[in-house]
């Protein structure tokens, strides 16, 4: 079984002056057999280092890696039954496509030449590059090279595929095409895959589950939708979703959440009433962060309750399918937050708008730890009624 377990993986680098950099800290993830797991996070979060540890291109400072039931973190890379697709494809420029794809089999197996040949032919056919087999990488386009890199990995028939941002060197259109194709391929091959990217769109659309890292620490491992609707902490909430979630620092005062940023009077103070349930989930916390996704803010005709706020539209971003409205609490306020409305709706800059923030849709995070105290309830979007 190709179940991949990462157990408290840690990686510490020492630089020349003896200082230590903790690149990865106690990351534990259990990846099921055949699962497509995406490691996502901002630059420098440790996702590539984690991937390289799985590959064996980095030694493990602490922790364990298990494939199936075997511990592999002390094995050489070539003995781990793992194939990797690099961001730069790392093809051998002086060999043909066939040569590139055969190399791994020639070096690490005793397979006879004709068997290798057949395997390479079949894989090339599956990837649609059969007619490129006799060409060299320099004669290929970016997309074609990417397929060759994929083919090189597939041909090895490994237990695990590792992919390090394989799509980031492609242009946008090619990227979305390849995204779909990669998914299809992975389903057909049913091989456990660990995929690294910094692009949260790729993460959301491709992964069975996503693992979000920041600063070397694992923030959350969940399905994309879970991460979206039930983020474990503020970082995940802000990282997933485009445009990203709006955050307000608030103080808990009785049954109100008060947003009163010091020294910025134009940013708009507001008071948000909360229900008893919400107050309970806040427990003893006095300071929290209120989060609300742009698409959960409704623009209504007039203010009806304490959860409706008068705002002025500062900037409108018409995206076609929707409009992103940057709203400020006063006409010249510097701080704005984002609300998303349907694309057919006509909204103009400078126009007043009443923003409704339904309580069922708010997220609350501890102001100090960032941990999620309450997430939105997963309800049918058509049935959002403000409740007290």
């Amino acid at each position: 079984m190709a179940r991949l377990e990462l157990d408290d993986l840690t990686k510490v680098f020492t630089d020349d002056d003896g200082g230590e950099v903790v690149a990865v800290e106690e990351v534990s993830i259990d990846i099921a057999d055949g699962e497509f797991l995406v490691l996502v996070g901002p630059s420098g979060c440790g996702k590539s280092t984690t991937l390289r540890m799985i590959a064996g291109l980095e030694t493990v400072s602490d922790g364990r890696i298990r494939l199936g039931d075997r511990v592999i973190d002390d094995k050489k890379p070539q003995d781990r039954d793992i194939a990797m697709v690099f961001q730069s494809y790392a093809l051998y420029p002086h060999m043909t496509v066939r040569g590139n794809m055969s190399f791994g089999l020639e070096e690490s197996t005793e397979m006879p030449d004709d068997e290798i040949r057949t395997l390479v032919d079949d894989t090339a056919g599956m990837l649609g590059i059969a007619e490129l087999l006799e060409r060299t990488p320099t004669e290929l386009s970016g997309g074609q090279r990417q397929r060759v890199a994929l083919g090189r990995a597939i041909v090895r028939e490994p237990e695990v595929f590792l992919m390090d941002e394989p799509l980031s060197n492609l242009d946008a259109k090619l990227r979305s095409e390849m995204r779909t194709e990669l998914q299809r391929l992975q389903e057909d091959l049913d091989t456990t895959t660990v995929y690294v990217t910094h692009d949260q769109t790729e993460a959301m659309t491709m992964g069975d589950r996503i693992a979000i890292l920041n600063d070397g620490r694992l923030q959350q491992v969940a399905t994309p939708l879970e991460a979206y609707h039930q983020p474990a902490n503020r970082f995940v909430a802000g990282f997933i979703g485009e445009p990203s979630m709006n955050f307000f620092d608030v103080e808990v005062q009785g049954d109100q959440l008060v947003h009163a940023p010091a020294g910025d009077t134009s940013a708009g103070e507001f008071s948000y009433p909360i229900s008893a349930d919400t107050r309970e989930s806040l427990q003893a916390t006095s300071r929290a962060t209120l989060g609300i996704r742009p698409e959960d803010i409704e623009i209504v005709g007039a203010a009806e309750s304490g959860r409706d706020f008068d705002t002025t539209v500062d900037v409108v971003e018409p995206m076609g399918d929707e409009n992103n409205l940057y709203l400020g609490f006063s006409a010249d306020s510097e701080r704005t937050f984002v609300a998303t409305v349907g694309g057919m709706r006509r909204v103009e800059e400078g126009q007043p708008a009443v923003a409704r923030v339904p309580e069922s849709a708010i997220h609350l995070f501890d102001a100090d730890t960032g941990e999620a105290l309450q997430n939105r309830t997963l309800r049918d979007a058509a049935a959002t009624e403000p409740e007290l």
Binding site: L57, Q78, F86, L91, F103, R152
Partner: protein, 297 residues
């Protein structure tokens, strides 16, 4: 790409600055070519003509090819000898340089920098500092006393050729290694990691990936090294010693060519200089790019 971004028109207009520029360039041309020009001219003159005509002007009456004839007959054996050690030493030092650079750059182990420092320093060490031990070593080894020379019917002075091969290989390795290192530093690390993941050992990775991709650098190194080794006098002098020796390299013979009691026969010397310089000049003209690259590193 030049540092000066001048308008295209300036290239064609009669601009006093440009005129001055080209005059300077021309002057430099004269400076660099003058010795060679006078060499050519003189090499085609009889000794009388040399004494009587201006050194810069060719002479019609005193025209002769005798100088070249003599030069060739005197120098040809020397050129063969030079070739005998220059070619193997060039190839060997280049190969070893590539190996060393590979082991020191594209693999990973502690202490690489220390070894590299020694290599870099090794490039700059004046050869005088090793001459005496070198001659001592070779006399102790007694290569010239081996029976093999008699067996093959070769003058045992050719042991000097073998010594020269060994010497030039060993002293050529540092510069070759450094040249290759700068090239290998630019190689894709991910490509080699991929090879490792694919199961290639350090040796196979060299044979199947690094070596084939080193071809451009080999061209540079071979050309540069050949020039350096062919042009060397010091080792030739020390290890072969007599220009009358059967194994005398061309530089050694040239040094004493054309010296007679009554002064120097310049015509012969000039002819000799050209004949001796021919191989490296040819290499330079044909492969100037590579030579310049080797020099600039």
């Amino acid at each position: 790409m030049s540092t000066v971004d001048e308008a295209a028109e300036e290239r064609f207009s009669i601009n006093p600055a440009r005129v001055g520029l080209y005059l300077t360039l021309g002057g430099l041309l004269v400076f660099f070519l003058a010795p060679i020009e006078t060499g050519v001219v003189t090499s085609l003159k009889t000794p009388d003509a040399v004494g009587t005509t201006s050194p810069l002007v060719p002479s019609v009456e005193g025209f002769t090819l005798d100088n070249y004839a003599t030069a060739v007959s005197e120098l040809l054996p020397g050129m063969v000898n030079s070739l005998l050690y220059a070619v193997p030493a060039t190839i060997l030092s280049a190969l070893f340089g590539s190996f060393a650079a590979y082991g020191l750059t594209l693999t990973d182990w502690r202490g690489q920098i220390g070894v590299l420092l020694l290599f870099v320093a090794g490039i700059f060490i004046p050869y005088q500092a090793v001459l005496v031990p070198l001659t001592r070593l070779f006399s102790v080894l007694g290569l010239s006393t081996l029976g093999i020379w008699g067996l093959l019917g070769i003058d045992n002075a050719y042991a000097g050729i073998v010594e020269l091969i060994i010497t030039h290989t060993a002293y050529g390795i540092p510069i070759c290694a450094i040249l290759f290192r700068s090239y290998y530093k630019g190689m894709s690390e991910e490509m080699l990691e991929s090879a490792r993941l694919d199961g290639a050992t350090v040796r196979r990775a060299y044979r199947r990936i690094v070596f084939p991709l080193s071809t451009p650098m080999f061209a540079v190194v071979l050309i540069y090294q050949f020039t350096q080794i062919w042009n060397d006098l010091l080792f030739a002098l020390v290890l072969v010693q007599a220009e009358s020796s059967a194994a005398a390299p061309v530089t050694l013979i040239l040094a004493g060519l054309g010296a007679s009691q009554s002064g120097t026969i310049f015509g012969l010397r000039m002819a000799g200089a050209f004949v001796a310089a021919l191989p490296t000049l040819a290499v330079y003209v044909l492969f100037g790019e590579e030579f310049a690259k080797g020099v600039a590193t």
